[in-house]
């Protein structure tokens, strides 16, 4: 804990940064890739294969995704614990967003843990290649479709709203008007990303 206290500024800044780069970037890539499933199993499988041909993929995944994600998650859960939510008392818009950011943090954490295990880690140990068929098996079941959809909403919200607070935390948007504009941009981003992600889910479920 002493370490966390002494390097509080650096750690908090890294926590904020990792949410955007690389995790946010990966999320965008992932949603866009998945949306190719709308074009049919072949289009999707092609994209997936292209990725799987990247040299040292496992190392890239560990260094640029797994470690930052673990860092962001573990600290993030601690930060969730530190907050004492009071939306019932102070019903302000930003307070709801603050609360939802923490709720989606936990939902996303549970979902990603499940998703990463079924779709990547467990599969890697079992030696099964990811494919349209594999995902379709899961998503064609309504219950799992709903679970994936909730996971998608949580992750996309956490990212979009996180972008709004990122802009404040790094001193990019300062005045109330700038922050308001960023709010609008983030809301639109949330809608667009939800649409892209849903497209992918529908494509994979079909």
């Amino acid at each position: 804990m002493g370490f966390i206290k002494n390097y509080n500024f650096l750690i908090r800044k890294l926590h904020s940064l990792t949410g955007l780069i690389p995790i946010g970037v990966f999320l965008l890539e992932h949603l866009i890739t998945n949306s190719f499933a709308l074009g049919g199993p072949e289009a999707y499988n092609q994209r997936v294969e292209a990725f799987q041909n990247i040299p040292f993929l496992v190392w890239i995944e560990i260094i640029f995704i797994a470690i930052p994600l673990a860092f962001h998650t573990i600290l993030g859960l601690y930060y969730v614990y530190l907050a004492q939510n009071n939306v019932l008392q102070y019903k302000y818009y930003r307070n709801y967003m603050f609360y939802l950011q923490r709720v989606t943090a936990i939902v996303t954490f549970v979902y990603v843990a499940y998703h990463a295990y079924t779709a990547r880690i467990g599969r890697a140990f079992a030696g099964i290649e990811i494919s349209y068929e594999f995902m379709n098996n899961i998503l064609s079941q309504p219950l799992f479709f709903i679970i994936y959809f909730i996971g998608l909403l949580a992750a996309v919200f956490h990212f979009s709203n996180g972008l709004y607070t990122f802009a404040i935390s790094w001193g990019i948007t300062i005045g109330p008007k700038a922050q308001k504009t960023m709010q609008t941009i983030c809301t639109i981003l949330f809608i667009i990303l939800t649409a892209i992600g849903t497209a992918g889910l529908i494509g994979l479920a079909a």
Binding site: L82, Q84, N86, R94, N95, F98, G171
Partner: protein
């Protein structure tokens, strides 16, 4: 308006005692506020059940919302009791509770000394050599003065702390009010000479990065001090300062 003002007050005899609710009925008069209602109770300390009780303990001083003393939770929201006008209260029953983020002393009176400790921590002052006459201070553009004046109206009442989800017993967050003071003193021509020391302080444990951008502070502030703008500006200052510091090692 009803004949009586119905109050529900969360009372507590001392820091380690358990709280209890007591109800009061105070004869209605026009233009009352929560402080004047509490003053009526002490003239006749009898509760709604007609039992004799002790007068309610609470803090107040100026009664014009400048001193910040009478801050409490009224109908669930933090505000000053003196400016809580009864005629504008929507609810039938008015509930009064002590601030929840600070140790209760008795009834509605709490210990807010931590607020002043935080001001000390961030060196919220201009380090003058002495009060002797050295002639005028630095010239200040009126435009600059106006927003610095906005921040210097902070009465350290604790509303922003009370509403902030990230200030609580678990966290060591320094709170919104002193952060705004850092900005105000860092931007004064003389105050800027201690800028680095202040930035270093708020980059430490419980510092500015512990703000979670719930932005309740600006909603709760009775003086509408631009706290969120100040925090965002300081985020920029600390970020740039930390990068500069790293390269200047």
């Amino acid at each position: 308006m009803a004949e009586f003002i119905h109050l529900k007050i969360k009372r507590q005899n001392g820091p380690n005692e358990s709280p209890r609710w007591e109800e009061f009925k105070v004869p209605y008069k026009p233009n009352m506020n929560v402080v004047s209602v509490l003053m009526e109770i002490r003239k006749n300390p009898v509760n709604a059940q007609g039992q004799k009780t002790t007068p309610v303990t609470w803090d107040c001083s100026c009664l014009e919302e400048v001193c910040g003393a009478c801050t409490m939770i009224i109908n669930g929201n933090v505000r000053q009791a003196c400016s809580a006008l009864i005629d504008k209260m929507p609810s039938q029953v008015i509930t009064l509770e002590p601030l929840s983020k600070f140790p209760v002393i008795r009834d509605l009176k709490v210990d807010r000394s931590v607020l002043f400790e935080h001001l000390k921590k961030v060196k919220a002052w201009i380090n003058i050599d002495g009060t002797f006459d050295l002639g005028p201070g630095p010239r200040v553009p009126e435009k600059e003065r106006r927003w610095m004046y906005e921040i210097s109206r902070c009465m350290t009442c604790g509303c922003c702390y009370e509403a902030c989800p990230n200030f609580n017993a678990r966290s060591s967050f320094i709170g919104p009010a002193p952060l705004a003071q850092v900005l105000r003193f860092n931007n004064h021509p003389t105050g800027a000479m201690d800028k680095e020391a202040r930035l270093e302080t708020i980059m430490g444990d419980g510092g500015i990065t512990d703000c979670g951008n719930a932005q309740n502070c600006i909603e709760a502030c009775p003086k509408k001090i631009p706290l969120t703008t100040a925090i965002a500006k300081l985020n920029r200052d600390t970020t740039l300062y930390s990068i500069g510091r790293w390269f200047n090692r």
